[in-house]
C-alpha cells in the first residue's frame, strides 16, 4: 500500500532527516515506528501526507507517486488517509460535532449521512455526551478520542497516528491503543509512531526502528529495543 523507494530528505544546513529509506507497508498492517526524537519518524509521516517532498527517491500510495500529484488530486488522496497527532490538531472554534462534520463535509458527504454518522462515531469513542463541547472544554484523552473519531469517520484506508499518546496518562493511553487496535482489526492499515515502550508491547505487531534517519531494525513481532 505504501512504498518508499530510496527516499532521502535533507533540510538545508542540517544533517539528513532521512537517508536511503526503502520500505513497504501492506494493506491491513499495524506498523509502529519507533526511535529517539530527531530519528526521522515525523519526517517519514510528513512525506506520506505530502506535507514535505523528498530530496531523493519516491513515495508511492498504491501505484501513485504522492509527490507528483496536483493540489486537487492531493486533496482527494488526503481523504483516504486519517490522521491523529500528539497535539490533536482539532479546529478550536468548532464543537466536537462540527469537527467531525467538517471532515465529512470536506469529502462531500450529504447532510443526512452527517446527521446519522457523527453521533454514532462520537458514541463509539465514548464522547456521546460531549457532542456540543469545544475542544478546550475536553480533557486530553477526550480530545485524542475526538481526533481519532475524526480520523475514522470517512472510513479511510490508512490511519497515521503521530505520537497519539504523547500527551496522555496511562489510562487514556491504554484506551487510545485499544481503539487503534480495534480499527486495525476491522481492516484499516495503521502507522503509529511512539516513544512509549508500553504501547509497542501492548500492540505486539510489526516494529520499525529508526535512528539518525535510517531504518536500523524491522521486526515482524517486534519489541521496543532502542
Amino acid at each position: 500500500m505504501i512504498y518508499f523507494n530510496n527516499v532521502s530528505k535533507k533540510y538545508p544546513k542540517d544533517s539528513p532527516a532521512l537517508e536511503d529509506i526503502n520500505l513497504t507497508i501492506s494493506a491491513g498492517e499495524f506498523v509502529s515506528l519507533v526511535g529517539h526524537s530527531g530519528a526521522g519518524k515525523t519526517t517519514l509521516i510528513k512525506l506520506i501526507l505530502a506535507e514535505e517532498s523528498p530530496t531523493e527517491g519516491n513515495v508511492f500510495f498504491e501505484s501513485t507517486d504522492i509527490h507528483s500529484l496536483s493540489a486537487k488530486e492531493l486533496t482527494k488522496l488526503r481523504r483516504r488517509i486519517g490522521v491523529v497527532f500528539q497535539d490533536f490538531k482539532l479546529l478550536s472554534n468548532k464543537t466536537a460535532y462540527e469537527n467531525i462534520a467538517f471532515a465529512m463535509e470536506a469529502s462531500g458527504k450529504t447532510d443526512e449521512e452527517i446527521k446519522s454518522d457523527v453521533p454514532h462515531v462520537l458514541d463509539l469513542v465514548d464522547l456521546g455526551d460531549k457532542i456540543f463541547n469545544f475542544p478546550h472544554q475536553l480533557s486530553g484523552g477526550e480530545r485524542q478520542r475526538l481526533a481519532i473519531a475524526r480520523a475514522i469517520i470517512n472510513q479511510p484506508e490508512l490511519i497515521i497516528a503521530d505520537e497519539p499518546t504523547g500527551n496522555l496518562d496511562p489510562i487514556n493511553t491504554y484506551e487510545v491503543v485499544q481503539i487503534l487496535k480495534k480499527i486495525n482489526d476491522l481492516g484499516t492499515t495503521i502507522i503509529l509512531t511512539t516513544h512509549n515502550r508500553g504501547v509497542i508491547e501492548s500492540v505486539g505487531k510489526r516494529v520499525i526502528s529508526l535512528d539518525k534517519g535510517r531504518i536500523v531494525r524491522d521486526d515482524k513481532d517486534g519489541k521496543y529495543v532502542i
Binding site: E51, V83, F102
Partner: protein, 307 residues
C-alpha cells in the same frame, strides 16, 4: 452539490464570524472607518458640486440697453442670441421691471428714492441677462455680440454696455478654480481610499493569520482549497455588510446635525441629500464594503493555500 457547498460555506462563515468575537468586531470597525471615508467623500463631492454649481450660476453676461432703446430691437437680439447653441437661457428685464427692482432694493434709502422722484421719468434701461451652458462659453456669446450679424448691427446703437469685461477676470479665475477643485478632490479621494483599503487589508490578514493553524488542519482532513477559502470569504462579506450598515447609521445623526447647523455654510442641506440619495449611497458603501472584505480575505488566505 454546488448549492450544498454554498450553504455549508455560508453557515460556517456566519458561525465563525460569531465565534471570533473581538477579532470580528475589530475587522468590522476598521472596515467601517474605510467605508466612512468613502461615504464622507461622497458627501464632500456633493458639497463641492453644489458650491461649484452655485458659483457657476452666479456668472452671467448682462447686456444693458440705453433708456431709449426700442423693445422690438431688444427682442430681435434676444431671438438671435437664443439661436446660439451655447446659450442656456435669456432673461429679459424691461425698463419697468428694472425700476421696480431698483425701488425695492432701495426702499429704505429715502435720498435715492427722492432723487428718482425728482427725475420724474424712468432713467433705467432694459437689459438682457444671458446664461451660457458652461462658464467657458461666455467668450463665444460676447464674440457674437461684437460681430456683424444684422440683429447685432441693428441693436448696437441701443447697447449701453456689456458687463462681461468687468466680470471676465472673475469668470476666468472661477473656471480654473472649479476644475482645480475637482481634480484635487479626485486625487485626495483616491489617496484616502487607498490608505483605508490597505488598513482594512492588514486587519483582515491579521484575522486570517490567527486562523492559519486551522487552515493547515482543514487541509490535512482533506478539505479542498475552495472549501477552506469559502468561509473566510463569507466572513469578509459579513464584515462588509455589517460595516456598511454601521456607516449608514453613523451618517444619519452626523448629517442631521450638519443639515441643521451648517446648511448655509455648505450651501446645501446634507441631511436632505442623505435622505434623498439614501439607496444610492448605501449601494455604493455596501458594494465597496463587500468588495474590500472579499478581496482582502482572498489575498490574505491565498498564501496559506499553496500546496
Amino acid at each position: 452539490m454546488f448549492w450544498v457547498d454554498v450553504k455549508r460555506i455560508m453557515r460556517s462563515g456566519i458561525t465563525s464570524f460569531k465565534r471570533n468575537g473581538i477579532v470580528s468586531i475589530a475587522a468590522v470597525l476598521i472596515t467601517t472607518i474605510t467605508l466612512s471615508v468613502i461615504a464622507g467623500l461622497i458627501f464632500l463631492n456633493a458639497i463641492l458640486n453644489s458650491s461649484l454649481a452655485d458659483i457657476r450660476d452666479k456668472v452671467d453676461v448682462t447686456i444693458y440697453f440705453t433708456s431709449t432703446a426700442q423693445e422690438s430691437t431688444i427682442l430681435d437680439l434676444k431671438t438671435s442670441l437664443q439661436k446660439l447653441p451655447e446659450v442656456l437661457a435669456i432673461d429679459y428685464v424691461t425698463r419697468e421691471q428694472a425700476l421696480a427692482t431698483f425701488k425695492e432694493r432701495h426702499q429704505n434709502d429715502y435720498v435715492t428714492l427722492q432723487a428718482l422722484e425728482e427725475i420724474g421719468d424712468n432713467p433705467l434701461g432694459a437689459s438682457l441677462n444671458v446664461k451660457a451652458k458652461e462658464t467657458s462659453q461666455y467668450e463665444t456669446v460676447v464674440k457674437f455680440l461684437e460681430g456683424d450679424s444684422s440683429a447685432v448691427k441693428a441693436a448696437s446703437a441701443s447697447i449701453d454696455k456689456i458687463n462681461y469685461y468687468q466680470n471676465k477676470a472673475v469668470i476666468d479665475r472661477l473656471s480654473v478654480l472649479a476644475s482645480g477643485a475637482e481634480r484635487l478632490g479626485f486625487i485626495l479621494s483616491f489617496i484616502m481610499v487607498a490608505i483605508s483599503i490597505m488598513i482594512t487589508f492588514t486587519t483582515v490578514r491579521l484575522a486570517i493569520f490567527i486562523a492559519r493553524e486551522e487552515i493547515g488542519i482543514m487541509r490535512l482532513v482533506g478539505a479542498g482549497n475552495r472549501y477552506i477559502r469559502g468561509p473566510f470569504m463569507m466572513e469578509g462579506i459579513i464584515y462588509g455588510i455589517a460595516a456598511s450598515m454601521i456607516t449608514m447609521l453613523i451618517f444619519y445623526p452626523f448629517t442631521y446635525w450638519m443639515g441643521n447647523h451648517l446648511a448655509d455654510f455648505f450651501g446645501m442641506n446634507l441631511f436632505a441629500y442623505y435622505k434623498s440619495n439614501f439607496f444610492q449611497i448605501f449601494a455604493i458603501v455596501l458594494g465597496s464594503g463587500i468588495v474590500i472584505g472579499v478581496i482582502s480575505s482572498w489575498i490574505a488566505i491565498s498564501r496559506y493555500l499553496r500546496k
